[in-house]
Amino acid sequence: MSLELSTPKPVASASSLARQRLIGRVAVHVAVILLAVLFALPFVWMLKTSLMEPLQAKAMPPVWLPNPFRFDNYRAATEAIPFWRYTVNSLVLCALNVVGTTTSCALVAWGFAHYRFPGRDLFFAITLATMMIPFPVLMVPQYAIFRDLHWIGTTLPLWVPSFFASAYNIFLLRQFFRTVPRDLVDAARIDGCGEARIFWQIVLPLTRPALVVVALFCFMYNWNDFLAPLIYLTDDRQFTLTLGLQAFQSRLGEIEITLLMAATTLMILPVIVLFFLAQKTFIEGISLTGLKS
């Protein structure tokens, strides 16, 4: 290999080079298409199963086209469990968390980014350190604390903490807030702007993209969250969609796989729709949160 590296490349004729390129491109396309089919297959399977009659869904070899199409499965699935109630519960929790996280994290991040005060760097170092502490480590003592607060059996433990900022988002937003020009802020101050107004009218609008990313990822996290609701929610009427769906699934073969797949599709749907609405934010958000190193 290393030898080859130093020997000059044989000069290929232009046409053979073009042919090689073409073969390469075709191969790449074939590979991508094959992989894409593999990745899409579970979705397709889910969709077609959700539209079938139970017997057809379990037929071997698999049937791919429902006959007849049973759109009624979706109605049945949403009636077999209080699907809409769970959806509303999930949405309410998500909304509370999104509001809580974005406001509190923005406030705190601005505090860290803009003001110089004794102890700031220590506090910030602690913030960074807490990023390492995962939920499972805290779940037992937090449970004990919420018990003493008489919050068990309510939804409070699932959203109140979000109003007290989380390390990761503070870190992310702080990076953005540091790009807000100091001169701009000082100028506003000279114009008689109060600190609250500066934050509200200058800083937040300037950093909207970052806030949207935080809100979006917060929504996704809470829409998907399973462990915390599993621990804190005991009343079926408060269940989130993840819990409800899991309970649905665990009913020992009582329910048909077609209905289960219909419910699963319905649960995935909002996320997919959200993705197509905010595709750019998603992709940017991942690069942003992933590349922090």
Binding site: L35, F39, K58, V108, R116, V137, T264, S293
Partner: protein, 298 residues
């Protein structure tokens, strides 16, 4: 000290502390106090129904001889050792493919990315059926190519592989991440390498990989930490069965805490988890200093 402060500093301190006050409260109530409590509980016999009773290091001693503890650690490590390299290679391969001149690239990127958005519970429910012995598509495919049926989730030799399979479907996040960092590699480097006569493979090994190594490193680290927290997937798909072959560390912690009400023992498990994560972060950090190319990515 207050007297020594200028008005400017005092104002800064006041507003600074005011702005970060939510974090101070949140950190104290939801982090610091729980951590202290958890540390105390880990030296207690505590069922939460009764007051904690101090028992010294008993819980930690028990852990050493607790086979299930070791088994869950091994399972977790096994899962990480399989799913991380496979996931990284697959995600990198997909990202490299997507980084070529591709027809309908945005469409393919979406196809690879979408599964990673599927909520874990939905993912688990879906894949339980996809891996079903009889009508699951994976087995249909295996029978079609003549390998025969595999009881993915019911056979202790395969159950973990079933979970790895499932987790691979959700690597879209990494694909997007790698793709973004590939696009950040300066064109000039490739041109220089080409001038030097490097072929495609050499360009990848000597240019691409070193340039995106910080991202790979970051992803692997997050993957390791993530593996220690795997919960929803096995909880929904296998409940840790058969014969505890898919019991993960966090599931065991959860069971000890909330199924058997051994909150003291669970707290000890939690502290070990915490230490493991700290240790992992430290190790990877030290390793990265030696091997990872510190590009101008950050």
């Amino acid at each position: 000290m207050g007297n020594a402060m200028t008005g400017e500093t005092r104002r800064n301190t006041f507003y600074g502390l005011l702005f970060i006050s939510p974090w101070i409260v949140g950190f104290t109530v939801f982090m610091a106090i729980p951590l202290v409590l958890s540390f105390y509980f880990s030296f207690c016999d505590y069922s939460i129904l009764n007051a904690p009773v101090f028992i010294g290091a008993q819980n930690y001693q028990d852990m050493v001889s607790d086979e299930v503890f070791w088994k869950t650690l091994r399972n977790t490590a096994y899962f990480a050792a399989l799913s991380l390299p496979l996931g990284t290679v697959l995600a990198l391969a997909l990202a490299l493919l997507l980084n070529t001149k591709l027809f309908a690239r945005a469409f393919f990127r979406t196809v690879f990315f979408l599964p990673s958005l599927v909520p874990l519970v939905a993912l688990a429910i879906l894949w339980r059926e996809v891996l079903h012995v009889e009508y699951g598509i994976v087995n249909s495919a295996l029978r079609w190519v003549g390998i025969g049926t595999i009881d993915w989730l019911g056979d202790p030799r395969h159950a973990m592989h079933g979970l790895v399979f499932t987790s691979l479907w959700g690597i879209g996040n990494s694909v997007v991440l790698y793709l973004a960092s590939l696009q950040d590699v300066p064109r000039g480097l490739y041109e220089a390498a080409e001038v030097d006569g490097a072929n495609a493979w050499q360009r990848m090994v000597h240019v691409t990989l070193p340039m995106i190594s910080p991202v790979i490193y970051f992803n692997l680290l997050m993957g390791c930490i993530g593996a220690l927290q795997v919960f929803a997937l096995p909880y929904v798909m296998t409940k840790g069965e058969p014969a505890r072959s898919t019991m993960f560390y966090t599931m065991y912690l959860f069971d000890q805490a909330f199924s058997y009400l051994n909150m003291g023992y669970a707290s000890a498990l939690a502290w070990i988890l915490f230490l493991l994560i700290a240790l992992l972060s430290l190790c990877t950090h030290l390793l990265s200093r030696r091997y990872v190319h510190q590009g101008d990515l950050s």
